[in-house]
Amino acid sequence: MELKNTIEIRWHGRGGQGAKTAALLLADVSFKAGKYVQGFPEYGPERMGAPITAYNRISDLPITVHSNIYEPDYVVVVDEGLLEGIDVTAGLNPEGAVIVNSAKPPQEIIPKLRGYKGKVYTVDARKISVATLGKYFPNSPMLAAVVAVSKVMDKEQFLNEMEASYKHKFSKKPEVIDGNMNALRMTFEEVAV
């Protein structure tokens, strides 16, 4: 069923990679941009490394639906290895897009997407994260990628809100703020939309 004015996003990741955290961060930053939001995980037998799903609804109107998302507008895949076992594009709107964390170009990912006809983006979150933070945290790049692709909010507004929230979150580790902000900016450059 079509829900007017609502952007629906599904995240696929592995336990411990931060897909849930990324979904909550997206809810957070969208809320700050004045939206009605939902960010929620789907809990199975949660283990480090086990596949997990998280969801976002973002709207200009209040959201009452409390079900999972079966026909998302966008799908984010935080771990490329999930493409083998999970039909990540199931129900995905062909007008939308899938964003995969991968060093490969989209052409190499498309054959694994079981016939999805919509747009396919890849983001090398490892490269970006290592370059900007010195360690592999895929969260910030994937978050920036989904904002860049979905245009759920304006780039500058997104960067401003993220900077404010990093300043709050890392008040005792200010050195991390610049790294994360650079990761976001670098992702916007990489994901040419």
Binding site: M1, A27, Y43, P62, H66, N68
Partner: protein, 394 residues
């Protein structure tokens, strides 16, 4: 001006606890309610509140400690889910029969087995006969609002009963949504302080709490509990009215959604009601069918006459239960609503569905199918199977 925030249901309830600053919180962790005592412990550690947090070794002990603290005169609460509630079983009855105004933040989760951590109402529905007031929430906002109202209901001298504030595990407890918080000063003025009429630590009035009652006294004690439940009806509504003045949000025993002209109605408890509302909007805008919803907020005391009145004009009703009771004939909400309709001589067709056990999802499409079935039943007056499932693989 209210404060606009985005919080998970657990954060929202913990925030309500922070604003109320109760005297005592004994608690033992269990998924998905663990975050509530965890957040409260942080508030205490940060010096935001001076609640006495008691670390206990089980839920049997957390409710026992709550009983002791509440009897002593302290404003007391705890939080739990599922098997944790089951381990409190005996104490639930003791708390209610001792007339102790304890508040329990219950995050609904399936009660084993097979073991499962996700939402259904089998934990609180199992405790429906324990003498606790039960109030349920559709959203994080409602979980927060209900919690703010809880102590005023529990501690009212005409009530003096424990209150369970229920919300759906993970769906609202771990889902982040927009929420409007009430300012601290307004909450403090609204909730006030507990001023117990009788309490164990009052040296001027020595008393026993929870003594043995021989057969000559026991039934009168139970009759007294029933009276408290009956009194709670008025108090729940008057507290809701007062709450509306500080929040602008209106609450009753249940919410009637698009019921003004409804011919087909669903009765449901909890987070699924929001999904039903979206389905109703879609059906009304695409087919013009007059569909509506009665969302139960207060299950104990059970507002039977009011529910029957709300459903008195519909052609067909589907009552949705998120728990089994293994009578073989339906679920607890189905049984009680059907009985209420019978007593009020409401002549609607009734069908009972079981859905969402162990976190099984329910979607707008599922609700559309339920309404389609109601059109058929209203037309043919043939219910066929009165006990069905939504989303069951057979």
């Amino acid at each position: 001006m209210s404060i606009r925030e985005r919080l998970s249901g657990n954060e929202a309830v913990a925030y309500a606890i922070k604003q109320i600053n109760p005297d005592v919180m004994p608690a033992f962790p269990i998924t998905p309610s663990t975050e509530i005592p965890q957040y409260v412990a942080s508030y205490i550690a940060n010096g935001d509140i001076d609640t006495e947090f008691i670390h206990v070794e089980s839920e049997h002990s957390s409710m026992s400690a709550a009983i002791g603290a509440s009897a002593a005169g302290a404003r007391t609460l705890t939080a739990t889910s599922s098997c944790g509630l089951a381990l409190m079983w005996e104490e639930l009855y003791v708390a209610a029969s001792d007339r102790l105004p304890i508040v329990l933040a219950l995050v609904n989760r399936a009660l084993s087995g097979p073991i499962n951590i996700n939402a259904d109402h089998s934990d609180s529905m199992g405790a429906r006969d324990s003498g606790w007031i039960q109030i349920y929430a559709e959203s994080n906002q409602e979980a927060y609002d209900n919690f703010l109202q809880s102590f005023k209901i529990a501690e009212n001298k005409d009530v003096m009963l424990p209150v369970m504030i229920c919300q759906d595990g993970f769906i609202t407890s771990h889902g982040v949504e927009n929420i409007e918080l009430v300012e601290d000063e307004l909450v403090k003025a609204f909730v006030g302080e507990r001023n117990p009429e009788h309490f164990l630590l009052n040296e001027k009035e020595p008393m026993a709490i929870g003594p043995y009652a021989v057969s000559n006294y026991y039934m009168e004690s139970k009759r007294g509990q029933r009276q408290a439940m009956l009194n709670a009806r008025k108090v729940i509504l008057s507290v809701a009215e007062e709450f509306e003045k500080i929040s602008g949000r209106k609450y009753g025993f249940f919410e009637e959604y698009r019921m003004e002209d409804a011919e087909y109605a669903v009765v449901v408890i909890g987070s699924a009601a929001g999904t039903a509302k979206a389905a109703i909007e879609h059906i009304r805008s695409t087919t013009g069918k007059k569909v509506g919803l009665v969302k139960i907020r207060v299950f104990r005391p059970f507002p039977d006459e009011e529910i029957a009145a709300a459903l008195s004009k519909v052609k067909a009703v589907a009552i949705l239960d998120r728990s089994e009771m293994f009578s073989g004939t339906g679920g607890p909400l189905g049984a009680e609503v059907t009985a209420a309709l019978y007593r009020a001589k409401v002549n609607a067709e009734v069908v009972n569905y079981i859905y969402g056990l162990g976190g099984r999802d329910i979607t707008t499409d599922d609700f559309e199918k339920v309404y389609e079935e109601l059109y058929r039943i209203a037309e043919t007056h043939e219910v066929r199977d009165n006990y069905r499932y939504i989303g069951l693989r057979e």
